[in-house]
Assembly symmetry: C2
Homo-oligomer: 96 residues x 2
Amino acid sequence: MKLTELKAIQLAELFSALSDASRVRIIALLLDGEMGVGALAEKLNMTESAVSHQLRGLRQMRFVRARKDGRQVFYRLDDDHVEKLYRMGLEHVEHG
Amino acid sequence: MKLTELKAIQLAELFSALSDASRVRIIALLLDGEMGVGALAEKLNMTESAVSHQLRGLRQMRFVRARKDGRQVFYRLDDDHVEKLYRMGLEHVEHG
DNA sequence: TGAATATCTGAGCAAGTGTTCATATATTAC
DNA sequence: GTAATATATGAACACTTGCTCAGATATTCA
């Protein structure tokens, strides 16, 4: 399988986005629909700052998308690729 | 989507295995069949030591499997889940 | 306007990661 | 046995990462 160095780096970056338990849990919550930063923080038992930092990374990777409503910012998954990756990983973990 | 903390960690570990360009390139090479450490090192332009260190991680994650023949050790992908993850990631990178 | 709320941001730091280098182990050939 | 080859391993080090903390920005409400 031929693979350019650039694509290897892009692939690594893609998987890096899911290589942290906090981010995985954020994705898992967003699978059920959009959620604000505060609600995420409460569910995850993390500070809002920590969640916001992680969301920034996920946003830059185009894993999540933000929608602002008043002073709240609601996040949701950007496309269904993320969900596919997540489900395939879960399958591997559960009966691999 | 309910997700236990344990599974979040396991998922993160799974994706961590693919979160480095060197490992991604190793996987890409092994998609074409088994290969020895020296051959991998040459193709990847890495030291054999560095490759060996990475292979250990991939082995512990059950991503690759080793077969010893004389003084050479041939590595191959352990199952097809890895390939599926890889291809799905590539798809996302190429037309995401 | 000012206070309260929701989120974002930058600095700092402890912990983790990937490499190199030197050395150890294992196997083959002599 | 010794020498040569192939891989593995541990320590050290630079670099990255994810958090906390303090403070900035943006929006709503009185």
